[in-house]
């Protein structure tokens, strides 16, 4: 029997999942239901795990014979969304920064963008007219700022992930579980719905979210790839930016940039049309802030590319660098962390499943 004192939200989560565990009709939708069926009670750690396993596709809400106005008032996607948002704060490092999750993400991000823009623009006040980026901001300054920020961000994400893993059961990770989780994550198996998509933003099934998320994620990855190739060019070959329009870094960045425009724009559009019944509206600030930062990163990047031979370049460069920096600084305290915890939850799911298979085979 659970002896821990659960918060009101956790109690509601446990109440609902107990109903799910007795019903089981939704077993075929996603990983959440087989995972909850392996548990007899739902403590805070179980709830954090299941909440991060949930992709908020809402199929189980529309299929639920106990959904409101039924007196059992079962609403799995909304309740798990609320628990998930709380879990981001619980595992944040350093802990005081968890408060960032609670504030309006957009305001925090905008303040950061403006402050950084001012700071970078004032470092040199250069008036370079051709694409000589390093006359505006020195390469050393860029590397120093982004290097320090990246190390901090990486540390914050790793600590959060390790905390989540330990709290939800710990244990060694094996390669096959990791592979399975990555496959489900990179393919977005649980938003794909076997080809029909999911009931987001509305009851009618659609692949829109799957497509827009893919555009966003792979756009982000391509942009990251562009930066990595550029770093190799710089340090490996001594080739300095700016690179030609058809060079590898610019091609990757342009392609990724368009994905990172269309993807976040699409996700925002879907979000506006979402069924309020299945969502936790309190997260809108955090969600929109992340979407807006992703969109501005690619928008300012593409604009900089287009106008790099004009007098607008120094200002655009400052704004772009500031946006990217703001995106990076807020990564561990915003919507981005869903990727970390969801992947960890998928790994745990794959592990549990393989252990269950093993048990069945040995007849224990």
């Amino acid at each position: 029997m659970p002896t821990e004192n659960l918060s009101g939200l956790a109690q509601e989560g446990a109440r609902i999942l107990t109903i799910c565990n007795a019903c089981r009709y939704c077993e075929g939708y996603c990983a959440v239901f087989p995972a909850l069926e392996r548990r007899a009670n739902f403590g805070a750690a179980d709830l954090d795990y299941l909440a991060n396993l949930c992709h908020n596709c809402a199929e189980c809400y529309y299929a639920c014979q106990y959904a409101p106005p039924h007196e059992f008032a079962v609403n799995v996607p909304k309740t798990l969304a609320e628990i998930r948002a709380r879990s981001y704060q619980n595992y944040a490092w350093p802990a005081p920064l968890a408060a960032v999750f609670r504030r309006n993400g957009l305001v925090v991000s905008l303040v950061l963008v403006i402050a950084l823009a001012v700071w970078i623009a004032s470092t040199k006040g250069a008036t370079a007219s051709s694409a000589q980026f390093y006359q505006v901001v020195s390469h050393r300054a860029m590397v120093a700022v982004f290097g320090v920020v990246s190390l901090f961000v990486l540390a914050a994400l790793v600590v959060g992930c390790v905390r989540f893993w330990r709290k939800t059961g710990g244990g060694a990770v094996n390669l096959s579980a990791m592979k399975e989780a990555l496959k489900d994550g990179l393919r977005l198996t649980y938003l794909y719905g076997g080809g029909q998509g999911c009931t987001y933003p509305q009851e009618r099934r659609s692949l829109a979210r799957w497509w827009f998320h893919h555009l966003t994620f792979y756009g982000f990855l391509l942009c990251f790839g562009a930066t990595s190739v550029a770093a190799i060019y710089h340090y490996g070959f001594g080739w300095r930016a700016p690179y030609g329009y058809f060079s590898l870094p610019v091609a990757l960045g342009t392609l990724g940039g368009f994905g990172l425009l269309a993807g976040p724009a699409g996700l925002l559009w879907l979000k506006q049309r979402g069924d309020a019944a299945t969502r936790d509206g309190e997260q809108d600030g955090m969600d929109v802030a992340f979407i807006a930062l992703l969109f501005s990163t690619s928008a300012t990047g593409l604009l900089l590319l287009a106008l790099r031979e004009t007098p607008a370049m120094p200002l655009l460069l400052a704004v772009h660098l500031a946006t990217v920096l703001a995106l990076f600084v807020t990564l561990p305290y915003g919507k981005f962390v869903h990727a970390i915890y969801r992947l960890a939850a998928l790994v745990r799911y794959a592990l549990e499943r393989s252990q269950l298979k093993g048990r069945k085979l040995t007849g224990q």
Binding site: T18, I19, N21, A22, C23, R24, Y25, C26, E27, G28, Y29, P34, E37, A40, E59, C60, Y62, A63, C64, Q65, Y66, A67, P68, P69, H70, E71, F72, G194, Q196, E203, R204
Partner: protein, 430 residues
């Protein structure tokens, strides 16, 4: 289409279903092995003890073969049989997400076809002249509205949610019955049809009832209020006495007799008593077990006489013969010298904590309906020829299922005769 429930509770008891029993000759994507029509029919004969219309039964069984493709064509998706239901993996096709998801697909398909659906529309009377349906009076937003049509398909279920009607049949005991499904199956259309000369079918005093958790809501508790732990312990009544062999047969074959058994006990209540050895061997129930570290403490928490329950458990424990326990098959663990005996899964109740669940009769459906022909036309009692009134689903299931129950058969009858009735009615309308 007139739906008496609001949109959220549309589709009658189908909302609570999860599978459809269908015949098939070879493994399919979601069904293992084969389930021949003959076997299906003999299963039906076994549960109904012959109370079935063979022509209609064979029609339903034969047509069940084509249900999956038809359903899929209307947006329904399927899943492998759910955990805890492996015994149905050969015969029963499970809907992904259960009955409400199935209904969502059907309603969406109907809307795509241009069918207008009016919710919270309760039929209060039918204008039937010489056996011909002419119009229905419908209560919409408190106002009676007359709707004329060339044909009528009644898919309005039984009368299990009509508490007054239940009391007429079962007396005051009915006050203690819980209704597992929709509160909207009030039997209004069934009564109107019978009053207008439709030939009745099915015993008007019979209902399908299982023992569910007594803490379940009066209506609509559905699947989660079931208790599967009865065969793992003993069941006692208000006096703390056992009254039936809890281990008579495998649970899927016996769960449906316990509603009646509990209904026959004083106060229509009973308690399932298990000990900690039973934990993990049954699907968790939605309500927590009532606990006690001793039998006396459990009895006090259940509101039973401590002496009576302790005495019953002690006599039971003494009568348990040694044997190898296996809750998944008919094992050799039984009692000797008790009345009634427990003939399988008899284990001493001796490992605290002791757990108890209160039980009430939970009505699933009633058997009374209207007689139909293979075109799903409602047959007049006077032997006249059927006209433009059709019936589908629970309101006519008694033609085939006169007694007992077979998992997934209600949905098979509903799907097959729903299609037949729809086709025939559409033919008349054109």
């Amino acid at each position: 289409m007139l739906e008496s429930a609001p949109r959220e509770f549309r589709g009658g008891n189908s909302r609570h279903t999860r599978n459809l029993r269908c015949a098939h000759d070879a493994p399919t994507e979601f069904l293992v092995d084969s389930y021949p029509e003959e076997e299906y029919f003999s299963d039906l004969l076994r549960v109904t003890e012959g109370e079935t219309n063979e022509e209609l039964a064979r029609l339903a069984i034969h047509e069940s073969r084509t249900c999956m493709e038809w359903m899929r064509g209307h947006g329904v998706r399927f899943q492998p049989s759910l955990s805890g239901t492996l015994h149905l993996g050969r015969s029963n096709l499970f809907f992904l997400g259960g009955g409400k998801a199935l209904l969502n697909s059907y309603y969406a398909a109907a809307e795509r076809l241009g069918v207008r659906i009016i919710y919270s529309a309760e039929v209060t009377s039918l204008n039937i002249s010489h056996g011909v349906f002419e119009s229905a009076t419908v209560l919409m937003r408190g106002q009676p509205v007359e709707i004329r049509a060339k044909a009528l398909v009644a898919a309005t279920g039984g009368f299990e949610s009509n508490l007054d009607w239940l009391k007429e049949v079962w007396g005051d005991a009915a006050d203690n019955f819980l209704i597992r499904g929709t509160p909207y199956n009030k039997g209004a259309v069934l009564k109107i049809l019978l009053d207008n000369g439709a030939d009745p079918v099915g015993d008007p005093k019979e209902c399908h009832a299982v023992a569910i958790d007594a803490r379940a809501p009066k209506f609509d508790g559905g699947i989660v209020t079931r208790l599967d732990c009865l065969p793992l312990g003993i069941v006692v009544n208000r006096e703390g006495q056992r009254f039936y062999d809890e281990g008579e047969d495998l649970w899927p074959k016996r769960y449906a007799i316990w509603g009646r058994l509990v209904a026959q006990q004083p106060g229509q209540i009973a308690w399932s008593i298990i000990d900690s050895k039973a934990l993990g061997k049954f699907i968790p129930s939605v309500f927590p077990a009532i606990r006690g570290d001793t039998i006396q403490e459990l009895a006090a928490n259940l509101g039973l006489s401590a002496d009576a329950l302790a005495c019953t458990v002690e006599r039971f424990n003494r009568a348990v013969r040694p044997g190898k326990f296996d809750h998944e098959r008919l094992d050799e663990c039984r009692t000797c010298g008790l009345s009634p005996e427990k003939t399988h899964w008899a284990q001493r109740i001796d490992s605290p904590p002791f757990l108890g669940y209160p039980l009430r009769p939970g009505i699933t459906f009633t058997y009374l309906g209207v007689k139909v022909d293979p075109q799903a036309r409602v047959l007049p009692r006077d032997g006249g020829s059927p006209r433009n009134i059709f019936a589908a689903g629970e309101i006519m299931a008694g033609n085939i299922l006169g007694k007992g129950y077979l998992a997934g058969l209600g949905m098979a009858i509903g799907t097959v005769f729903g299609r037949v009735a729809g086709k025939e009615a559409a033919g008349l309308a054109h």
